[in-house]
């Protein structure tokens, strides 16, 4: 092992790629459900970045941060999906283009 490992930059590159794919999903998909999944993908890309830096510096604080990100993601999914179900019950749609009550 030692210095023979994969450089941190490669992991950052993969994280950047995954984050961008998630961003594309958020921006161009119309189903609120898929947008949610894309947000999860972006959170996971950040997690990969955290863990890669944690390994580079030999400190475990980055892994603790991943732990917190997962907890926040779980809370977000629980509330977000509840909102989604409520919207679907009301409006019979999960498309973000048709949910524009705040637009007036």
């Amino acid at each position: 092992m030692g210095s023979m490992g994969v450089p941190t930059e490669y992991y950052q590159l993969v994280a950047a790629l995954l984050f961008t794919i998630g961003l594309i999903g958020v921006l161009v998909r119309r189903s609120a459900l898929i947008i949610f999944m894309s947000i999860e993908l972006m959170l996971n890309a950040v997690n990969l970045s955290f863990v890669a830096f944690s390994r580079q510096h030999g400190q475990m604080d980055g892994q603790i941060f991943v732990f917190f990100v997962m907890a926040v993601a779980a809370a977000e999914v629980a509330v977000g999906l509840a909102i989604l179900v409520a919207i679907f019950r009301n409006r019979e749609t999960a498309s973000v283009d048709e949910v524009h009550l705040l637009k007036g």
């Binding site: 790629l17 998630g22 998909r29 997962m70 779980a74 809370a75 999914v77």
Partner: protein, 170 residues
């Protein structure tokens, strides 16, 4: 050498699954592709000596959160989107801004975040790096207060979800 091969394998499968997730029509297929991404990432976590995080990734994300997603997909019975992507100029803007964001991220990675000189080399790791015992020790000493705040956050989320699910809409 083996690490490089595994890294290539996991990163390729992660990106391929991610693309599949974003561009599939069927929501169940999207959810299963997301599971693929999560499993690939947990493989990478093992390569990075984060064994506990890798296990949590599979248990919490691929297990609990994705089951929640699949439940909602089946509960809502959403028909496939037609058209798949948001129509008109918004789609072009979406791809354009995502591309700009990627170039920015790439710039940060290449420029080492603005630091001068050579990047820090990979540090030698203590033998218990990434072990559950060590994670627990740090979590309950240095990060005790954020941990407790997280528990309050989770409780608020549970209460909020129940309230939202039980409310009767007019």
């Amino acid at each position: 050498m083996g690490e490089a091969i595994l890294f290539t394998l996991f990163s390729l499968s992660a990106v391929a699954f991610a693309l599949g997730m974003v561009f599939r029509r069927n929501a169940v297929h999207c959810a299963l592709h997301l599971v693929g991404v999560l499993l690939s990432l947990s493989g990478m976590f093992v390569l990075l000596h984060a064994q506990f995080i890798a296990a949590i990734q599979i248990l919490v994300y691929a297990g609990a959160i994705m089951v929640l997603f699949l439940f909602v997909v089946m509960l809502l019975n959403v028909k496939g989107e037609t058209p798949l992507l948001t129509p008109g100029a918004a789609k072009g803007f979406g791809f354009f801004f995502a591309f700009i964001a990627f170039v920015e991220l790439l710039w940060i990675v290449v420029s080492q975040g603005g630091t001068e000189g050579e990047p820090a080399p990979l540090q030698a790791l203590p033998p218990n790096f990434g072990s559950p015992a060590e994670i627990g020790r740090i979590l309950y000493t240095t990060w005790l207060f954020p941990f407790e705040v997280t528990s309050i956050l989770l409780m608020i989320a549970v209460v909020g979800a129940v309230v939202l699910a039980k409310r009767k809409f007019a």
